[in-house]
């Protein structure tokens, strides 16, 4: 388990600060676990808060090349990743997990490339 991220969000994204503790997690597995551990209402709230802000977030992060996102902006990147990781729970399944699916913790997913890599 990695350390909780305590860096505040850039000022123009202060409205999303309340989501940092739960969702600014650096790996897919931690983000997916958070999706599984969250009530559906929390997923919907996070989804609704992020959806209208996604273009602004990606525009802000696109000022950096992959591998050069400064530490101060990583929480914002991880929030955007979390949005993408939980979207199906809100848009498709209407529940956190995949109905009747294999237990989520069994497949071992290795992320070979992320925006943290050059």
């Amino acid at each position: 388990m990695s350390e909780p991220i305590s860096t505040p969000l850039p000022e123009s994204f202060a409205d999303l600060s309340g989501y940092v503790d739960a969702w600014a997690k650096p790996t897919f597995r931690e983000r997916y676990r958070q999706r599984m551990d969250s009530p559906q209402a929390a997923l919907v709230a996070f989804y609704q808060a992020l959806l209208p802000r996604m273009d602004a977030i990606t525009e802000h992060l696109n000022q950096y090349a992959p591998g050069e996102v400064p530490a101060a902006d990583l929480p914002l990147y991880f929030l955007a990743c979390s949005f993408m990781d939980i979207a199906a729970a809100v848009e498709i399944y209407e529940q956190p997990d995949v109905p009747l699916g294999l237990e989520w913790w069994r497949p071992e997913l290795t992320e070979c490339r992320t925006a943290l890599d050059a």
Binding site: M84, T110, C112
Partner: protein, 409 residues
């Protein structure tokens, strides 16, 4: 609706009878598969790009052969493969999964081997009795590459060359940009099911409407093709290919729209939209003949089963290999690797995050049925399965394996 195709009757050697269950659990059948199929065919081991420089190596395990293999890039740029077994006392020579070395040193007694596998140094060598250094080098295994994919062959006799083994597929993908794609993610899953039980679950599109009814939405079905009938199949001596229908008018969720916008590559879409074409100048006629061979706009992707156990997916902008490794008659390891053009912006990675989570969710759906089915095989209710024309690839797979095992050795 288009006339019902009849792939099964069009395939010489295939009947329409039920297919028996026993190859999914029988221990003798399993052992024969290992000895006569897995030990005699080319098996997917990784990609050349996993070991780009001289001295780079990867270590890959092959559960059906109970073997660990070192693949190492030589000084001359070629790649050689060796059993990861110390010729002295059988210790595993290389413990790591990958790295860069000039020689491999066994941690037990310090025997060392060059990149070429040759025995270099034996501590206190004078204490041995007529040590044959040549015979006690690392044992070689045949290795060759195709589209940047590495294959090894454990056959005790020199195997048919990789190109010959690929047959009709050898040149079907010339120019397909797999070597330019980056390995984006890997998913490894252990399941309590026969390797064919899992493989067969991925070799047909009939399950899409029910099993992926929510997640796939209308990506693989339409008013014109409500059951997602396959565009086409190609059944060869051992390998086979199928082309999945894709709905050109499919709808997209808000997150899928963002994925497309940020990444300019859709997850499963039959990508023919202007946005994609503008960025990649993709036209069907530019494709190699084995990719979307029907040149249809309502195409999603192709699956090519490289016999016996590696599914190679070709699509517009992404690719997948998925290998089904037998461990025991009723346990398997599934290894999927996803390749795509490396994102050039942070937004591209955020877009790919949606691809990643959709692949993961759909994998949980795909793998959900195999253990339940496996556990039912000997309940006594039935001893065979009926297969539709849309499951002809599953039928062909069972047919090929049975034929091979019935041949005289």
């Amino acid at each position: 609706m288009a006339a019902q195709p009849d792939f099964t009757h069009a395939s010489p050697g295939l009947d329409t009878q039920p297919v028996p269950y026993y190859p999914y659990y029988d221990e003798d059948f399993f052992q024969q598969e290992i000895d006569r199929i897995f030990r005699r065919n080319w098996l997917f081991a990784g990609r050349e790009s996993d070991l780009p420089q001289a001295g780079d190596y990867i270590v890959k395990s092959f559960p059906p052969l109970k073997a660990s293999v070192i693949l190492a890039r030589q000084q001359d740029g070629s790649i050689r493969a060796f059993y990861n077994v110390c010729p002295h006392r059988a210790n595993r020579v290389e413990i790591s999964e990958c790295g860069h070395k000039n020689r491999f040193v066994c941690s037990f007694h310090g025997w060392s081997f060059g990149l070429d596998g040759k025995l270099k140094h034996v501590p206190d060598e004078q204490a041995f009795f007529d040590l044959d250094r040549e015979a006690r080098s690392l044992k070689s295994i045949a290795v060759d590459s195709w589209l940047g994919m590495l294959f090894v062959n454990f056959s005790p006799e020199p195997p048919a060359p990789l190109g010959e083994w690929l047959g009709e597929l050898q040149h079907a993908f010339d120019g397909y940009p797999l070597p330019q794609m980056t390995t984006m993610l890997k998913i490894r899953t252990e399941v309590k099911a026969n390797w064919k039980m899992v493989m067969d679950a991925f070799l047909e599109g009939y399950h899409v409407v029910q099993l992926h009814g929510q997640s796939a939405g209308d990506a693989f079905t339409s008013k014109e093709n409500p059951w997602g009938h396959l565009n086409s199949v190609r059944l060869y001596d051992r390998h086979k290919s199928l082309s999945m229908y894709g709905n050109p008018g499919q709808s997209a969720t808000p997150a899928a729209e963002l994925e497309l916008k940020y990444q300019q590559v859709a997850t499963y879409a039959p990508i023919q939209g202007d946005r994609y074409q503008q960025s990649h100048q993709t036209r069907w006629n530019d494709f190699p003949p084995g990719v979307n061979p029907d040149r249809r706009d309502d195409w999603a992707f192709d699956i090519h089963l490289l016999f016996p156990n590696c599914s190679f997916y070709t699509a517009n902008g992404w690719s997948v290999t998925q290998c089904y490794w037998p461990v025991s008659p009723e346990t398997s390891v599934i290894e999927a690797t996803v390749y795509a053009f490396q994102p050039t912006s942070v937004a591209g990675y955020i877009g790919f995050e949606h691809t990643k989570s959709m692949i993961f969710d759909v994998a949980l759906e795909d793998l959900s049925t195999v253990e339940r089915a496996q556990s039912n095989l000997r309940a006594g209710a039935f001893d065979s399965m009926v297969l539709s024309d849309m499951e002809v690839v599953v039928r062909h797979s069972h047919h090929v394996i049975r034929e091979l095992l019935e041949q005289d050795v």
